[in-house]
Point group: C2
Chain length 242, copies 2
């Protein structure tokens, strides 16, 4: 009799687990969007003042390479733009994507609208979540960073960079969207060019910024789902044509 | 000859000024929306720990009056909900609007969609910008607050409260939208009831939060324009009907 009761309990547990799995899957694959689970990476080269000089030169209208201490002799060569690692690589802009995929193992996803599911949001700062997104004939780099701008108060910063020139970046608009617990937060902006250094975009705060409390409201089981969409910005296109 | 040249210069200046004025007006009255210029008020009763006890009772499922140190003997009476001043008034919920208008001189605006134009964003924290918004048969209180949650780093917090009960508040969704410099930020949520204390909503960070740098990107000449829209949330209405 006890054996049958235990068997019945096990079957009930299996049904419950199956339902939980179905529920989780349904939440993140609504509207047939591609969901990409992105695991965190503890940034190995993070230093808060790294981009101070780069930022100064941006203000003077010069586009700095991220590794501003390295002299780039050929103006057509760009340094490695991976926000995670100090890397001596430099090469043509067209080779950046294959370098990031092959050397830094950053995933690339296809699709106009995707969901970026960042796991383990509780990990201490500095932590980065990174993927590449291929869309409208271009490649974009999405960076979510947990960083302590004010000591003891980590915040989340999310931005999208075009792996291309600033002129090309002006032709696009990206949208990041959080939607949970009867709350919705949307950020829309023109992507920056990867030549502009992701660290300075984040230190300027010119991106989606989330306090820890708001990030917790939007996250589910320690994971934060960010809907991403990229469109061509018609105003810019027509301005460029003029 | 010099006189005529000077006269011509003055006429040109006048035309330029007229054009600038027209441009400024056009920006803030796009789509026929009502624009309300809201001047700041330096909060007289601000104390960071004021709502700690109130928050604790909310977590226990009890709705606290904002002035939790005052004992409200009649459960039908609510204290003054004005976030600006310590005020001994208490009365029925239906009388809160007229009290806020008459005693605290808070303006009330009609319309489904309005633009809240907060002036003098540079003023030091703590500062509040407040209006009431009459829409869909109810009155809402919009509070924009500049506050230093982390010392030396002021942030802006914007939220909308229903002057009504939490059950009534569940029937609505409010949207706050910032749109400038090719950037757009939207926050959508269910309004909280005014009985829940605006200070605890802000200290929880469960509202639109802006860092100073982002507030500067969205502001024009020291003023921040926030588009406001309120709708009935059908999901909640149907849930309430069940």
């Amino acid at each position: 009799m006890l054996f049958f009761t235990q068997c019945f309990g096990a079957v009930l547990d299996l049904i419950h687990l199956r339902f939980q799995h179905y529920k989780a899957k349904r939440v993140f694959s609504a509207a047939g969007q591609l969901v990409c689970v992105v695991n965190p990476t503890h940034s190995l080269k993070y230093a808060p003042t790294r981009c101070a000089a780069a930022q100064a030169s941006t203000e003077q209208g010069i586009l700095p390479p991220c590794h501003h201490h390295e002299v780039v002799h050929d103006p057509q060569l760009v340094p490695c733009t991976c926000p995670l690692f100090s890397c001596p690589w430099e090469g043509h802009l067209e080779l950046v994507v294959s370098h990031l995929r092959q050397t830094h193992r950053i995933n690339i996803l296809q699709g106009a609208e995707i969901v970026f599911l960042a796991t383990d949001m509780h990990l201490p700062a500095p932590t980065d979540w990174i993927i590449m997104h291929s869309c409208l004939g271009h490649q974009f780099l999405l960076v979510l960073r947990k960083q302590e701008k004010y000591e003891g108060h980590p915040q989340f910063f999310a931005t999208m960079m075009l792996i291309g020139t600033p002129t090309q970046a002006n032709n696009f608009t990206y949208r990041l969207e959080l939607n949970r617990n009867q709350r919705r937060l949307k950020w829309e902006a023109t992507p920056r060019s990867i030549l502009e250094c992701v660290d300075s975009v984040i230190s300027d705060g010119d991106c989606l910024v989330l306090n820890t409390s708001l990030a917790q409201l939007f996250s589910d089981n320690g994971s934060l789902a960010i809907g991403i969409a990229i469109t061509t910005s018609k105003v810019h296109s027509s301005e460029a044509e003029m």
